[in-house]
């Protein structure tokens, strides 16, 4: 996804994605930032990526790796690491669940990145949209924490929940909550 497309999205839009997606969660964020801070290189696919907060169940079939179940994980765990990820790698979209911090929303506005909410737990449906893996990195981190690459086809539904214009669906809901 290019920056112009990202900036055209508005909170509340429903989208389905086609094209490259990489997975990454806690350990991947820590290693990516540690590596780049040390001046070393990370896999080029991280740059300008659509980053999916997901630790899939993968199974080997022939010489291919197929996702069996691949729903989103809780994005808030990556709150502290994400502004720097967006700044350094120009992440264009983050797919996850549960939303992210105001600091992340600010970085999204500045560098051009959106937050797309996948439906938590809908792992079988979302795995279908990913198709077979097109490669992986950092497998020593374990199946859940490794980077898995996919070429998505009709992957969704995803709800634009934080956009580049200051829109934030989670904030809107939070303001209206009755206790």
């Amino acid at each position: 996804m290019d920056e112009a497309t990202v900036r055209s999205l508005t909170v509340g839009d429903t989208v389905y994605l086609n094209g490259p997606i990489i997975t990454g969660r806690d350990e991947m964020h820590m290693r990516a930032l540690k590596t780049i801070r040390a001046g070393d290189e990370v896999p080029e696919e991280i740059y300008d990526s659509v980053l999916y907060h997901c630790g899939p169940i993968m199974t080997e079939s022939g010489n291919k790796w197929i996702p069996v179940a691949a729903g989103p994980t809780t994005s808030a765990r990556m709150n502290d690491l994400t502004p720097e990820m967006i700044e350094k790698f120009h992440i264009r979209a983050i797919i996850g669940k549960g939303g992210m911090s105001p600091e992340v929303a600010e970085a999204m506005k500045t560098y051009g990145c959106v937050y797309l909410a996948a439906v938590g737990g809908t792992a079988v449906s979302l795995a279908e949209g990913l198709g077979e893996s097109t490669g992986s990195y950092w497998n020593d981190l374990g199946m859940a924490e490794a980077i898995w690459k996919f070429n998505a086809n009709n992957f969704g539904p995803l709800t634009v929940a934080i956009d580049t214009k200051g829109g934030n669906l989670y904030d809107e809901v939070r303001k209206k909550i009755k206790r």
């Binding site: 997901c54 169940i57 669940k97 439906v119 737990g121 792992a123 795995a127 809901v173 909550i177």
Partner: protein, 289 residues
Amino acid sequence: MIKLPEPVEDVVFNLLRASNTILPKDVGWALEAAAAWESNPTAYSQLGAIMDNVRKSELLSRPMCQDTGIPIFYVRGRFDSSVAEDIKKGLIRATKEIPLRPNTVDPISREPYENNLGEGMPIIHFTPTDDNFTEITVMPKGAGSENMTKLVMLNPSEGREGIVKAVTDAVLDAEGKPCPPGVIGIGIGGTADKSILLAKEALLMPTGDENPDPVLNELEEEIFIKLNSSGLGPMGLGGATTVLGVRAKKAACHTASLPVAVNIGCWATRRASARIYDHEVKYSQEGFF
């Protein structure tokens, strides 16, 4: 001909497969009822995607969620020490064959373990009884919901009102993180550790059944209405469905204490039980009646 029951290891494998691939009927019905109520389009689409996924996972026998969690085992009835080894063997096989995601790591080095084992794993709670069966229950518990667990040690003077507030705050502060709409497990009383055990055990009670304790039943209903009037909605994106059920258990506590624990189950509140008798095995995902 006398039918011999399958080996315990196989029973454990069957339980792990059923719990991960088939949503308990009571939870499924609660989802359908919720979808019929929803007028918020975002909420309706979230529930639709969930129900669609539930159908696919059962049909394809695939885990409904990639977070197959930490399996928590409950063993009650008559048993000996071999049951722990059988559970371990069943879990190893299930991790490879279903497959389950290998989720366990060292808490400090974060080095992954294989087959969902590792130090202190698997977690098994034992309750010996004089029944003529061994009952094994498994609850696969994902981290998204487990991470939202709350324990509060209230002052006794805060009373019932304090309990309602502690529970509603725990659920509403968690927002979309534990994958609402789920089941809220509440443990009241006991000690700090006991209240958490009760809250988790409450998630094994079928959603929608009346609580045998009328005081807890009223409390469950009050919290259910309060949470579903909050507007948090499925995945925290707004709507009328924040919880599918509220279940509570209690135990006596110290005169100076009022422990309240909240353990949240996501929409995929998964469980399966088996009763192993001499000549047969009975399975259920909604408890035994």
